[in-house]
Symmetry: C2
Subunit: 579 residues, 2 copies
């Protein structure tokens, strides 16, 4: 492609709303333009990159035996109501009423539709296993889209859904995807880690997340130094803290007036205490019960662990009215005392149970209570009381006795064992060899195509621009012709362009009548892995100049050897990604 014939609108200005390098560079290099909050138009370079990623994903999915299909993006809300995910997704689920008054959703994922399909088409164990995937438009109405395509509203996702007859077969299907994902991310040039993950709203029983570690990522990976354990923050388990005992006997509980004191920090300052001595009492509801969840003042409730603690129920924070009814006080003054007697279930984090004494809300507006002893002033066992791990890991925690470390990352893919959650609700069953009916065992497997692009940029860029991996670079080779008004330069550049294309290379030819400096700046910005410079001076000696974007070295190469040399270098770059 000749640069003059395509649209690569590079810009110097950094967009005001771009907080991370990938967002900044995708705008500056002319890969995309924002249309509205969280939606982008992909311009020729950006879309080429996405299509190359799509090709790699498709090749590996096909090689793993998955079947390429396309499901509708507009789906009946009714199907989502059957699994309850319309509620789980909440406002993130885009929905609209059509002209006949029927409600539809804009697909953020397709468990319902694929399970509904399987219910109609699969009837016998002989048809299993089967794995159906699609690469398609998805929509999530994010509350706060940011970081460019890392958290956008509209994106391209590869989503796959496996159906198996036995747990062993599901294990194989899961492993096939796990291995395919490793190949996909490696071929895309990403350094990634695989961590244990919660299956969350997918409702599954096992999951791994593929994450690209980088400081700008929104996900947090928790791992031991030797990496024998690695999980995302949602999943990361922590060892229970040792039970602390008080040096002196604890006097009875004592109410203190804490008027107009809101946050944990304010309460601590007022009472001259520390957050880790506070017991936060948070009221949640499920469809069946009211829960009081206790975590230390310096800890956060982990919603995934809380869901697990309730046996997989949908859990949400109680509204103000419920909190008042349960605690008898305004929001912010709940405490665990006497709640079990009112039928409330207590879920107590290990770290709270380990406290010798603490401060908590008094179940009375504008009052807290001191000298609260877990086990004395509220139960640590008995009916409707559970002491477990319901908080996020923090610095200082251990797992299996080993200290936990934290790093940021970008989630690019996740694999889940779903089990029978969807197949039961949507009647996707099969008959086994004995003619007995069972729900299909399902797995689901997602990859964020746009996120692969962004995380590749996060991983490799410098102050001058992007440094693409060869496999997903919009073009493999850039020919930069300077002094184009010199007929020999123009002719040589044109010849090389044709020769490289004839060798099957993807070539961008910068044929613009611009100054060399501008062209080199643009070359660095758009980050094509290999640059071939044709200029008057080198050409006088029969040479052109070869340069890898990731290196500063330039090598003079005789013109007639250049095409072969470029082909070799490109092959070498690919070989690095397929060791």
């Amino acid at each position: 492609m000749k640069w003059s014939l395509t649209l690569i609108p590079t810009v110097k200005e950094v967009p005001a709303d771009a907080e991370v390098p990938s967002h900044r560079l995708m705008i500056r290099a002319g890969l995309m333009r924002k249309l509205a909050s969280g939606t982008y138009t992909y311009l020729p370079l950006g879309w080429r990159c996405l299509r190359k990623i799509i090709r790699i994903v498709r090749e590996e999915m096909d090689a793993a035996g998955a079947l390429d299909i396309l499901m509708p993006s507009v789906q009946p809300l009714e199907l989502w109501q059957q699994t309850g995910r319309d509620v789980d997704y909440g406002e993130t689920l885009g929905r609209f009423r059509d002209r006949h008054g029927r409600w539809n959703v804009l697909s953020p994922t397709a468990e319902e539709v694929v399970t509904h399909l399987a219910a109609g088409e699969i009837s016998s164990y002989k048809q299993l296993p089967v794995n159906l995937y699609q690469i398609s438009f998805k929509f999530r109405d994010e509350f706060r889209p940011r970081f460019g395509v890392l958290r956008s509203r509209e994106f391209i996702m590869k989503d796959a859904y496996s159906f198996d007859a036995t747990p062993e077969s599901l294990d194989r299907s899961y492993r096939l995807m796990y291995d395919a994902y490793c190949r996909i991310f490696r071929r895309c040039g990403l350094d990634y880690v695989i961590v244990e993950a919660e299956s969350g709203e997918m409702g599954g029983s096992g999951s791994h997340q593929f994450t690209v570690p980088c400081d700008t990522g929104e996900d947090i990976i928790v791992h031991t130094e030797d990496n024998t354990y690695a999980a995302n923050l949602e999943k990361a388990a922590v060892d229970p803290l040792p039970k602390q005992t008080a040096a002196d006997p604890i006097p009875p509980m004592q109410e203190v007036h804490t008027p107009a004191v809101g946050s944990i920090e304010a309460v601590c300052e007022f009472l001259h205490t520390q957050p880790h001595e506070m017991i936060k009492t948070l009221i949640y509801v499920t469809s069946e019960n009211t829960l009081a969840v206790l975590v230390r003042g310096d800890h956060d409730v982990n919603p995934e662990k809380l869901t697990q603690a309730t046996g997989g129920q949908h859990v949400e924070l109680a509204d103000e009215e419920t909190i008042k009814k349960v605690s008898g006080a305004a929001v912010g003054f709940a405490g665990p005392m006497s709640l079990v007697e009112k039928g409330v279930h207590l879920i107590i984090d290990h770290a709270v149970a380990a406290l010798p004494v603490g401060v908590t809300g008094a179940n009375q507006t504008d009052y807290h209570i001191k000298n609260v002893v877990p086990g004395r002033d509220f139960p640590l066992d008995g009916d409707n009381v559970l002491v477990t791990d319901v908080r996020n890991a923090v610095e200082g925690d251990t797992y299996n006795g080993k200290p936990l470390h934290f790093k940021h990352g970008i989630e690019v893919g996740q694999v889940f064992k779903l089990g029978v959650k969807y197949s039961t609700k949507l009647h996707a069953t099969f008959l086994d060899e004995q003619g007995r009916e069972h729900p299909c065992l399902m797995g689901c497997y997602g990859i964020g195509i746009n996120r692969i692009m962004a995380s590749a940029i996060e991983l490799a860029n410098d102050p001058d621009g992007i440094i693409w991996p060869i496999s997903i670079a919009p073009y493999e080779v850039l020919i930069t012709a300077v002094n184009l008004d010199d007929p020999q330069v123009a002719q040589t550049a044109e010849n090389l362009y044709q020769q490289l294309k004839n060798r099957g290379l993807e070539v961008l030819f910068d044929d613009r009548p611009l100054r060399a400096g501008v062209k080199f700046k643009d070359a660095d910005l758009i980050g094509i892995p290999l640059r071939l410079t044709v200029g008057k001076k080198a050409l006088a000696e029969g040479n052109v100049e070869l340069k890898l974007r990731r290196e500063s070295d330039r090598r003079a190469v005789p013109v007639d050897q250049a095409p072969d040399r470029v082909r070799e270098l490109v092959d070498q770059l690919y070989a690095e990604l397929n060791p």
Copy 2:
């Protein structure tokens, strides 16, 4: 691909709602399944076909110099309000409010977004011409989805948008697309005709429609026998009818009481007259004026021609209240008398002007009026009176003196010259060599990807199933192995499968342990162009059997010659599509 490893759920039953062969066969051959009204999941065979069409479209668009991009499907309603197309599209435009209360539309096409993009990126004549295209998900909330994918709600469309500096350059861009479309449809194996079309809601100044003639099509093509003129019904011009003169002088107008008489037919029966003697008076409004449109009782108003007659204004039927105000009568009793005096504009079809005398509404509820003489009882010229062509062509009409013929067809593509409609409203301008600012001249070019698939099936099928053109067939070759329990058959089939794949062919291998009859029936149903049958009997003589789906002949071919022979035949089938 081995049949046992993919999902091709063929069925015998014809779906109850399938009215046309392509819909029936796409379900029966397991190409797709309905999810909801007008939305379909494309299964492996159907999606392969669509992807092969997409590849052909992309190759030809790229070859024509168009640039591949991807625009958001979810678009701000605000942009659509700026062009007024939110009103033009009406309820067909899917729209939803997001969590922040902003209105979005689901893109049925992308003029607004691409013009908004151009406004930001194009500033100089040096950047022109440029043609941007995408192949992507589109949504139209059709009132009555039907005919399978021929009128669906969700579909894949290739939409391209050209930007030019001069009319001559727009002509060239338009011609490039026109020629690319010819190559695309030919390569897809479609017999098509190109007819003049109205640009309608696109708001353009010239258009051609690519239509596949077939009885099941919803579009109507109007043409002279020698095909020197061909247009779609929306566009087709007709010669004015000769002015008829009455044999005897016409008595003055006479009111007649026509109580409880609604339709034209009922009025005719009541008054012993004929529809072609009736003058229908239809009240329309634009943003500026009220119009009375007169056509004969046996004719229909052509909305496109009416739009043209108003100079391109958005025209819609008046509501009941307006009609009552204008005519002074209930709906159904309007007449042209005295309307101009009330400030109403008269648009009179040639055929009405040619009547010697007619019957029309009396502008009084339950009354009609006889002996109405055009030119005597209402004006045929003067201010706010226009006699022109505003009706659909019908049997008996001529154009340039030649009788018009009618046939049905499926629209698969359309090209439009848009002019400056969008670029003016959305400020997509450029500076010319003299530094003067002009709006870009635009064209837009659409292809319905799913419709190509359906119309290929409409064109070529028989009672046994589909007969695919080689270029878009899900696979090029089907190996049908019968007597698979015979080791020699199994081994030979497997060898041939590998050899054909090694020759770069797309091969489906029916390895299912089913009776030969079932496999042949399925083979005919899914319609792969070339079938290679491996069976015990022929194999005993060293042969396999070759058969083209479109022919009944079977040819015995020695096993070792089969791969070359298949390759030759496949090449030959492609050559037929690229003459």
